[in-house]
């Protein structure tokens, strides 16, 4: 194949791969969320569709697809139909610039574990997420329902307000790394292939950048309309907010958009502050063995429980899962797969940790009042972000 054809083919493969994985993740993220919250509240969660409810997402998808697609009367039809489409496509678009790993060799072809690298990757993500507001706003307005409209106004005002501290929090690590490209961002945090870095190269550990990280996380919670900032869909006030009038797949689209946004901001947090795919310490000191140990341990625990007589219901499923885990652990030991599996593992582990924080917070915190929400953004978060940016800029100017 000549290089240009190869480029198209590889890009197509990557797109399909990322899309498939992302869709699965979206579906299972919801399952994870339900499970985690259930365990926080000391109850089992989904349990009956498949072992431990593992097939629950599949069942949900089938239910949503087969449900009647209801079109309420008196809606503004084109916009009503376009809104969920805008929301979900803008949410998925950001993923295209997220790098999951370094440059790798696949069958002799060099490629990046990233769909495309833009010089203005960070700005691109911001731009796309700012357009995502329209999905919410138009959905609320076109539904011709006062709860939907109020929810949409609330949520778009909230998203615009929190975009400021978010952007300012993003700017500080950008100043340190001196680039807008997401891949270069990771390379300056120890992701340089020439010599691998450590924990201390991450932007999070540069001076007081943990403040910026916290500001970013809070603003990200608000941007994704998650608890404690989910006023747009406060069911005791606004029924279901902007998607009150939506059902079946259009409702699912908003759902997907929310979870895709969560994944995007988590990935952004990892890329900006936590060093992307970089291991906490270099592989020659044994960081490559961490995933092996993790998966092996998980597999052994699963097998032990599966063979235990008290768990009769799981006597097939758990050993199977355990064996799969052991196989994954073995895959991490193979030199052929190690080069791309290890970065992917660290990236997913970090992103997963932040996603877990999202769920954890949802299981723990109550909801803000609306004036508290706005006051918090403008009176506390925004000044802190500005001061953080100014001081960081000063230090960068003095040092660099």
């Amino acid at each position: 194949m000549d290089p240009s054809t190869a480029f198209y083919v590889i890009s197509l493969i990557k797109i399909l791969l990322v899309f498939a994985v992302l869709m699965t993740t979206l579906a299972y993220l919801q399952w994870v969320e339900r499970k985690v919250i259930a365990h926080i509240q000391v109850r089992p969660g989904p349990y009956f569709v498949g072992p431990h409810g593992l097939l629950q997402p599949l069942a949900d998808v089938i239910k949503l697809i087969t449900k009647e697609d209801l079109l309420p009367p008196y809606v503004n039809k084109p916009l009503y139909l376009a809104a969920p489409f805008i929301a979900v496509s803008m949410a998925l678009l950001s993923i295209s610039v997220i790098p999951f790993g370094p440059e790798i060799d696949v069958f002799g072809y060099h490629t990046y574990m990233q769909l495309t690298d833009l010089n203005i990757g960070v700005l691109f993500v911001l731009a796309v997420s700012s357009v995502g507001v329209y999905g919410v706003a138009l959905a609320g307005w076109s539904s011709n329902n006062k709860y939907a409209l109020l929810g949409a106004l609330r949520s778009s005002a909230q998203m615009i307000s929190y975009e400021l501290p978010l952007s300012l929090a993003i700017a500080a690590p950008l100043l340190i790394s001196n680039t807008l490209s997401l891949r270069k961002l990771v390379e300056t945090q120890g992701g340089n292939p020439a010599h691998a870095g450590t924990l201390w190269d991450w932007n999070l550990f540069h001076g007081w950048q943990w403040i910026g990280f916290i500001v970013f996380l809070i603003a990200a919670f608000a941007e994704t309309n998650r608890i404690p900032f989910d006023l747009a869909e406060a069911e005791n006030e606004l029924v279901a907010g902007f998607h009150t009038e939506y059902s079946s797949m259009k409702f699912a689209a908003f759902f997907m958009a929310e979870y895709a946004n969560m994944i995007t901001v988590s990935a952004m947090a990892v890329l900006l502050f936590l060093g992307g795919w970089v291991a906490p310490w270099p592989a020659e000191y044994g960081s490559g063995l961490v995933p092996v140990a993790v998966f092996a341990l998980a597999g052994l625990v699963a097998i032990y429980h599966g063979l235990h007589p008290a768990r009769r219901m799981d006597r097939f499923s758990l050993p199977v899962v355990g064996v799969i885990f052991l196989m994954i652990a073995a895959a991490f030991l193979a030199p052929f797969t190690q080069s791309w599996l290890l970065p992917l593992f660290w990236f997913c582990a970090k992103t997963g940790a932040i996603l877990f924080a999202f769920i954890w917070v949802r299981g723990t915190l109550p909801r803000f009042r609306y004036d508290q929400l706005m006051g918090f953004a403008w009176k506390y978060l925004f000044p802190v972000a500005v001061v953080n940016l100014l001081l960081t800029g000063l230090v960068v100017a003095l040092v660099g």
């Binding site: 700005l123 796309v128 357009v131 507001v133 706003a137 307005w141 778009s156 615009i160």
Partner: protein, 163 residues
């Protein structure tokens, strides 16, 4: 490739712009305007203005037009009435507008011709714009910040309940 991209997005921009003018409902006009802005952002990328393209989406599409949408939703502006008090605008405006557009196009074609291809100009990166902004155009930049401050205060004063 560049030509195809240009034609696609120029067509989108034109259709959307026509839509802005002919749609009777402000919301539709606003959505069409966002379409114009989005396709213009792509054209900016083609012209090597990557920072401006991103700023176009963030500022125009992401902030200014949301504001418009907000106001339209708040005022619940309906379709406009079919009545006109300005005969001048129609009698004189249409021919003047046609002449205006034709003249512009005519003069543009008087210009020496040159081609545009993607990557022909790479000086529009965030670094280049930022450097120019903080050296050559530092004073306008600072003045602009004052302007923004004035606009904020003005908007707050105007939108207060007492007036």
């Amino acid at each position: 490739m560049d030509v195809i991209l240009f034609l696609i997005f120029a067509a989108i921009a034109l259709v959307a712009a026509v839509n802005v003018v002919v749609q009777s409902h402000p919301i539709s006009s606003a959505i069409s305007l966002i379409g114009v802005m989005g396709s213009l952002a792509v054209l900016y990328l083609l012209l090597g203005a990557e920072f401006i393209a991103a700023a176009q989406v963030i500022v125009y599409a992401g902030a200014v037009m949301v504001l418009f949408l907000f106001v339209i939703m708040l005022l619940n502006a309906g379709t406009e009435a079919r009545q006109s008090k300005s005969e001048t605008a129609h009698l004189l405006g249409v021919p003047a507008l046609v002449v205006f557009a034709l003249l512009l196009v005519y003069f543009i074609h008087q210009q020496p011709e040159s081609g545009v291809h993607f990557g022909g100009f790479t000086g529009g990166s965030a670094q280049a714009v930022g450097r120019a902004l903080f050296t050559t155009y530092l004073l306008p930049f600072e003045v602009t910040s004052v302007l923004i401050l004035i606009a904020i205060i003005g908007a707050i004063v105007l939108a207060r309940k007492e007036i």
